[in-house]
């Protein structure tokens, strides 16, 4: 058990990255009941925007610590620019439509974003690692970790708490919860469900973009980022139970730990670890860890 400590740190670090991918997806599903394949695109766009702004600001000689607020700013900018527009134009069309239509409309958006990224940013990889460098490293059990990795674990936990607080203690959050419970009743109570949908979708875009932005200082940005993110995000969201934020957090930890265990002991299984976890979980709980069947009213 020499590896216990590093496995735990690695597992949590991996889980944090996975959680950021899945949380926005599951939030959007819980409110809008839409499965958004384009979520992966927002993840990638967030990363590109962060690297671009970071690159410009850093090369202008700004202090290194500034790279942190830039990550959040980039995510907010991405969300503000893309969230409302896309919800208004494309996502709204899919409300109440069969899942196949939702998946295909958002998949079409995903395809379009893939090429747009290529046209704008080219095919080379970008790196902007000021945020990693400024934080330095720690030696844990003889293995060197980036303090940035440890920070991400804390940030993921903070996002879970922040979402809880937002949903249960703010006006917008309470409206979102009401709409999740029953959109029709909410509408009769005077809640503008259209605005709630737009707000929830924009928060989802923000979380996706934040995930991409936070991953970028350590991983860089290159084509293919979005596709990787969306498949993993869907798997984690399904394992947790669609629409369950705490479920997504727990699923991210399970998948993260599973991957790390695989890398340490059975490296051949690493690429399929998320899928094996999903098969195992859905076999026992067909609607995911925290999910439940919705019975048709007859």
């Amino acid at each position: 058990m020499d590896f216990l400590l590093p496995m735990l740190v690695d597992g949590l670090a991996a889980s944090a990255l996975i959680f950021f991918i899945a949380v926005g997806l599951t939030l959007v599903f819980s409110v809008l009941r839409v499965l958004n394949v384009a979520h992966g695109s927002f993840y990638a766009v967030g990363a590109y925007v962060a690297v671009t702004i970071g690159g410009v600001v850093m090369s202008a000689g700004a202090p290194q610590w500034l790279s942190f607020p830039i990550l959040f700013l980039s995510a907010a900018l991405t969300a503000a620019l893309l969230g409302p527009v896309i919800e208004r134009t494309f996502i709204r069309f899919t409300y109440g439509k069969p899942e196949a239509v939702q998946i295909l409309v958002t998949f079409a958006l995903f395809l379009i974003f893939e090429d747009l990224q290529k046209l704008v940013f080219g095919v080379q990889a970008y790196y902007q690692d000021a945020a990693v460098n400024v934080l330095g490293i720690s030696d844990i059990g003889g293995i060197i970790y980036l303090n940035y990795q440890l920070l991400l674990i804390a940030l993921a936990a903070a996002v879970v708490v922040a979402l809880r607080v937002m949903l249960h203690h703010t006006r917008l959050g309470k409206m979102i919860v009401a709409v999740v419970a029953d959109p029709e009743v909410s509408a009769t109570l005077g809640i503008d469900t259209r605005r709630v949908y737009m707000a929830a979708f924009t928060i989802g875009v923000f979380l996706a973009a934040l995930g991409g932005a936070l991953a970028s200082p350590n991983s860089g940005v290159a084509p293919g980022l979005g596709a990787e993110a969306i498949v993993l995000g869907f798997a984690v969201a399904a394992i947790g139970g669609l629409g369950q934020i705490e479920g997504a957090a727990l699923a991210a930890v399970i998948v993260g730990i599973a991957r790390v265990l695989a890398i340490y002991y059975v490296p051949q299984l690493e690429p399929v670890a998320p899928y094996l976890v999903m098969l195992a979980v859905l076999l026992v709980r067909p609607y995911g860890l925290f999910g439940a069947a919705t019975q048709r009213k007859i």
């Binding site: 499965l35 494309f90 069309f93 069969p98 899942e99 196949a100 239509v101 998946i103 295909l104 409309v105 998949f107 079409a108 958006l109 995903f110 395809l111 379009i112 893939e114 090429d115 747009l116 290529k118 046209l119 596709a227 498949v231 869907f234 798997a235 399904a238 669609l242 051949q268 690429p271 399929v272 899928y275 094996l276 999903m278 098969l279 859905l282 076999l283 067909p286 609607y287 995911g288 048709r296 007859i298």
Partner: protein, 312 residues
Amino acid sequence: MLHFIIILALAAAFAAIPAFFPWLAFVFTLVLAKGFAALGVAILLRAGLISIGHALFYAVGAYTVGFLSSRAGVNLLIPQLVAAAVVSGLFGLVIGLFMVRYRGIFFAMLNLAVSMVGYTLLSKLYTLTGGTDGLSIATPRVLGMTVGREAFEAILLYGGLGLAFVVGIVVHRYLKSPMGEALPAVESNEIRLEYLGIAVPRVLLFAYVGSAVLAGIGGAIHALIVGHITPDLAYWTTSGQLVLVAVLGGIGGVAGPFIGATFLESVRAAAVIYAPDAWNIIIGAGLLVVIFFLPRGLHGLIERITRKGERP
């Protein structure tokens, strides 16, 4: 009747074009391969089940041919095709027994998961599958005759087209049978089906196995025309493409997926030459146009014409 005439006309055009542009014969044979598989996906889509994993059965069909050709020394076209259909059907049966319990996104994700496990196995079982370098497939003998590559490719294209017709009629009859008509009923009201005493899992299992067989036939044709197969055949992007083809073409009739495949491969062939950087944009935009304005896909256009013809 008008409907059938239009389909025949399209098929005739399909058969004629490669005679003028020989290099398109290869593309059109791939169209048939994709069309078969997308038809399988379309059957499930009628029940509201979206499989992001049918590339697995496509790959199973292809690798069955690959094994027979490069490992077992069975270089005969018909046995290879039959084996591909049977083996992919068996895979469909085993996996389907598990899948028919799930609906919606969970069905989609589980198919994805199983296909990705299959993809990984194909990549990792190096000695069996040739790993990521894949397997090469020799030109098989046809009805006991040794044929040249060129003749073989013609046989594959026109034989494939004939097979598409036969299979199309069989599938059409199935879709019009009670079990076939029950598929949209699964989506619209599964509970009522149960209350009619119909075993929905059995309805779906039949569809699932059928769709796997169709995907397997497609995969076998793919393997034979390309002559080389890699695990990428089972990757989820291939599955996504099959769903795309089915939806673009329309799931309203058996010709839909073949029309969708023709459209997609033609656009791809053109995009590679004229707009290599915007290929995804073209496909994405095309998909949006179809979903927003042609909810029944390209096949829906034929339906509109024939409706007008039948009910003036």
